[in-house]
Symmetry: D2
Amino acid sequence: MFRSDKLINYPIKEVPYYHIYGRTDLYRNDIPLFWNGSGIEVNVSGSELWIELDTDCDLYEPWISTEINGAFMSRQMLLPGHQKLCLFRGLDPNTVKNVHFNRELQAMSEDDVCHIIIKGLESDGSFYPIEPKKYRLEFIGDSITSGEGTYGFTSDVDWVSMYMSSSINYAVMTSKMLNADYRLISQGGWGVYTGWDNNRNHAIPKYYDKISGLSWGIENEKLGASKLNDFSSWIPDAIIVNLGTNDASAFVQPPFPDPETGETYKQRTEEDGSYNEEDLSNFRNAVISFIKLLRKHNPSSHILWAYGMLGYDLSLPIAMAVSDYRRETGDDNVFYLQLPNTKEDSYGAHMHPGVKSHKLASEVLYDYLKSLFDRKEV
Amino acid sequence: MFRSDKLINYPIKEVPYYHIYGRTDLYRNDIPLFWNGSGIEVNVSGSELWIELDTDCDLYEPWISTEINGAFMSRQMLLPGHQKLCLFRGLDPNTVKNVHFNRELQAMSEDDVCHIIIKGLESDGSFYPIEPKKYRLEFIGDSITSGEGTYGFTSDVDWVSMYMSSSINYAVMTSKMLNADYRLISQGGWGVYTGWDNNRNHAIPKYYDKISGLSWGIENEKLGASKLNDFSSWIPDAIIVNLGTNDASAFVQPPFPDPETGETYKQRTEEDGSYNEEDLSNFRNAVISFIKLLRKHNPSSHILWAYGMLGYDLSLPIAMAVSDYRRETGDDNVFYLQLPNTKEDSYGAHMHPGVKSHKLASEVLYDYLKSLFDRKEV
Amino acid sequence: MFRSDKLINYPIKEVPYYHIYGRTDLYRNDIPLFWNGSGIEVNVSGSELWIELDTDCDLYEPWISTEINGAFMSRQMLLPGHQKLCLFRGLDPNTVKNVHFNRELQAMSEDDVCHIIIKGLESDGSFYPIEPKKYRLEFIGDSITSGEGTYGFTSDVDWVSMYMSSSINYAVMTSKMLNADYRLISQGGWGVYTGWDNNRNHAIPKYYDKISGLSWGIENEKLGASKLNDFSSWIPDAIIVNLGTNDASAFVQPPFPDPETGETYKQRTEEDGSYNEEDLSNFRNAVISFIKLLRKHNPSSHILWAYGMLGYDLSLPIAMAVSDYRRETGDDNVFYLQLPNTKEDSYGAHMHPGVKSHKLASEVLYDYLKSLFDRKEV
Amino acid sequence: MFRSDKLINYPIKEVPYYHIYGRTDLYRNDIPLFWNGSGIEVNVSGSELWIELDTDCDLYEPWISTEINGAFMSRQMLLPGHQKLCLFRGLDPNTVKNVHFNRELQAMSEDDVCHIIIKGLESDGSFYPIEPKKYRLEFIGDSITSGEGTYGFTSDVDWVSMYMSSSINYAVMTSKMLNADYRLISQGGWGVYTGWDNNRNHAIPKYYDKISGLSWGIENEKLGASKLNDFSSWIPDAIIVNLGTNDASAFVQPPFPDPETGETYKQRTEEDGSYNEEDLSNFRNAVISFIKLLRKHNPSSHILWAYGMLGYDLSLPIAMAVSDYRRETGDDNVFYLQLPNTKEDSYGAHMHPGVKSHKLASEVLYDYLKSLFDRKEV
């Protein structure tokens, strides 16, 4: 195979210009990608570009996707090991190419060794500055935000890496429409108060302040996952919370016996099917507490709870909690938005939103955030 | 012109089968059409069908539209006088045609003589039974539900009859998707607590229990508009309330001096632009009161507040009011749904939702109501 | 009813500015509308506009539609008699409104008294010049160009006026996309060589040089229908011929005994279903002759045969005829374009193209004509 | 990484059931993939599936894509060497998965060592029969059929592998809609008589009867590329020829001096821009000759020349040639279809048709072929 004879290998932190997507530990020589939507963007001339990676996994192998000049180009599985991927070759050496390398797979709380680490780039071209995006958006969610089911046939029901993505994802779509940098923090099956199976450890707020608090195990520890996130280093213009879908499931799922505490948890329903008011109240309090936590770490950000892509069951309780929070604190910079429920023709795999549903949600979100930003700018 | 020599004239109440859309006084020999979406449906054989009407107006002439076999066929202005309109002619006399004659114009509180009265039908065919619709839906709203701007070019801003409709209207679209009979009760510029200009008389709840309480004047009085509505005669499966858009406007409009009472009304904002809490509380109380009124007259109906097609400003207060109502009364059969805001490419005339916006809203509503009905049927 | 007290009645030819659509006799004091798509356009201020008409019909009543500022506003049946229609009322008297009044019904060879004559306008405003369109397009066709089935439910099969239109019509859509003035010359069931039923009198070329040669009877005679058309008065940039669909039907229909000549006509098929070569050759010659006739009357116009919306059966013979014409005459300004066949989900009433099919055809035509015009302009 | 301990390695020809897409040499122990759209399909249970490949290239690296259960899953570059790719892992071992592995890159006449060879599969599951497709379609074309520009940003103009595909391709889309097996034979820049640059060696007919006649070099020779194709082994129901786009370019490109013969070739235009009749005649004769060649090898197949996605310049000459062929031979099973030109909003990269254009073309082709097949079946 013909290869350029002018390729230079750059340890990633010696690349003159690059932009990192997603929370990571900035004090390392390399760049671990913890979350889906994490990745790197460069502007580079030259005929070839390669990326050097360290990857590992036990059960859930990471997938990645790439874009060249904003157009989707590749999507593939990564197997364990040190490897170089060619991102392009044979292009006109004089033009500057915009290249975006994305992690497709969510941070994986069920696979302690799963990781992608960007070690370096190799090119025969030069690197150029990247125009900063106009906004910064942080999305916090569950399997919907993890893009579960955005790949796969509608009848596929396995819970595996390849069906999750950031490349077909309302959060990324919304960000692109707004010309925004983005960070995704999400975990399938988790909620704000409890996981879908009544496991209360599966609550995003418990891990929000770490770089990637739900990436467990020694390996992730070494990579900085459990370090406190430096909230001053990246201040979002808006935080979008898409949680509640699994909290609603918990009401109709069996009790969860916590193996560590011996306690059994259950969000209860009444005989007529309505939600038990005490448990609902715990949920609402969890919403309020999480908003307070978000506000503590992000004093200036718009906070928008955006919910509904898989049913509106907890819409009123969330709205009530948001209202109560505003009344209690006087903080008016917190909002609630219903996203359109996924229609029958818009499902992807595993009864999760498909591309049409993600597209529709992104249009509603775009519209809402744009109004919010425009109002502020007036 | 060739005319069938077998035409028979039927006073409307002597037509063997017909279905009336919209609230009206059933104890009359004729059928006054008060609201947009009011009308009549027949199944009829024969080659010709004519409808006999009495019409009047001062400033705001009524418009009507027709459908043959469910397909849009005509839309036209009606001028004052006694008149016969030909609904079809020259058709195969042996087939049964479904014909739907609709009022396009809202009940017009600003034109006391505006009316359409169906007096009779004329045909050379026979009338056949009409299959009852599966559901009954009552929609209560403002200019959005009056279809304002669904006709007209985007830059048209006159407030005239021809830009309003039931033929392009999320309420009618939703009903057709659900195979539902429908009634619309709406008035442009009105709210649940106050009109867009702070006029508190322009509140739908004040007139809800009359057949068409905001059709004023002696003529409408004679037609039964101010009679109490017989709620037992048509029990809706669901009531959809799309009010709040004008209540939000009132916060940014000048005070309204009530000419009758001498008082001045104003929904106030604080210096930072936020809504005055006392005024907001009045609004929330109005929402709660209206739900109670709806519940009183409609003990078994789902009640769904569906809001947002022209901005989400009062979304949280409405949701909070709905929650408070549920908590206070234990009545869980009341819901809140955000409808998608009108996007830049989806406006009709006069900065109101256009056909794309109505279509999108109807899809979200359809999805929501279908879930509600399906759950009930399980 | 309130009416402006400043209304002035203008005999139509005394209106200062107006634009006539469609071929008509320009030497009269009034404006007969012969073809679908025929009509009048004005720019007018004032609060009200009325149009004064004389109408008649025996079996096939004419329908009309209106647009205000380019937006569809009304569509209705016209019954015989002298009448005034109100086109708008109650508008801001100071703004200038663009109003377009259209005939929906094709010239009707089967109803000798069918006509619409514009006699005058009545308004309290002033008339303003109309910006000339960029191009002029003449469309020649059959039921497709008559818009048959663009209104009506898919299962409707009656052959009546109300299912035909110019308001949903690929010819008008194409013209609007190109900012073009347009004239439609079409008749349902007719062809270039023979009608669908093998009646060879039903061939458009026989009547092309008259203003409206297939509007028969004394009344139409009086209105100038049978006068020779003045081809120098309106020179089309392009002529689009959409004929052949009925010529194809003739091959599979029974023979037609001509009552006048006693002869029997039939386009024959061979035993294997293929077209008889002699009959096919007659068809091709008819295509060539018609192109020659078009060229004689329109020396400078692009001529485009555009065919296929209801099947491609005669696509190759038409293309061959066009090629032969070009080879024989050296006239390269004649083209052939296949229009997309109507897909199963795109039918209107009576197995004719519906709105989706007309839209798709107009996009293909727009693209083709735009290239043609742009090339010329370079 | 966890791996199933029951993986069994199958040399590809020992896999019990598989389906091969694309022309290849069936007498080998492995499966070389020559054309884009070439590949393999299996139904397999088990938790994991791997594919074993030999790959090479000099300048133009091959790309591949995969589908699981008909849904697009991955797309990636292949670099030279012996390698195993994991096609899925972690799936429910008991369900049967349909897996389709596709070559994205056209046969590459400009890279003699470029190849993909499937050597084997590795799985812990069992293989199951594959339901035969209903039809067989052979597509013959140029860069359009090679999917050039279906990936990449609209302004990208490099001529490289990654912008070509079979995964976004009207030929594959059409086949899927018809439930058809398919074979693609295409080369960017080539024509039926001459390449885009007047190089007459770049004519598909010269290489049609070989398995992959334009895959040159010793390596491809060894893989069987230059063997005669066994036309009896796979009889297409229809052959779709999409050639002519580059033949049209040749008229406006500079002359081509053939380095081997010393001759200079040029399709000439006249002063007025029209095509030289002698050169046009050569083109038409090439069309006729190619149809005769296709007919010789495929006596029973429908032959459809489908042209127009990048301009209609040679539409009439092609139609004339098809007509002349039919007249000369009496073979009526040859057709001509115009495909819709690519609209301004439907381009992909490098001024080639993008996904919207391929989709539209496939809908028109589907409609045409379905009619053809349905007629035959009656």
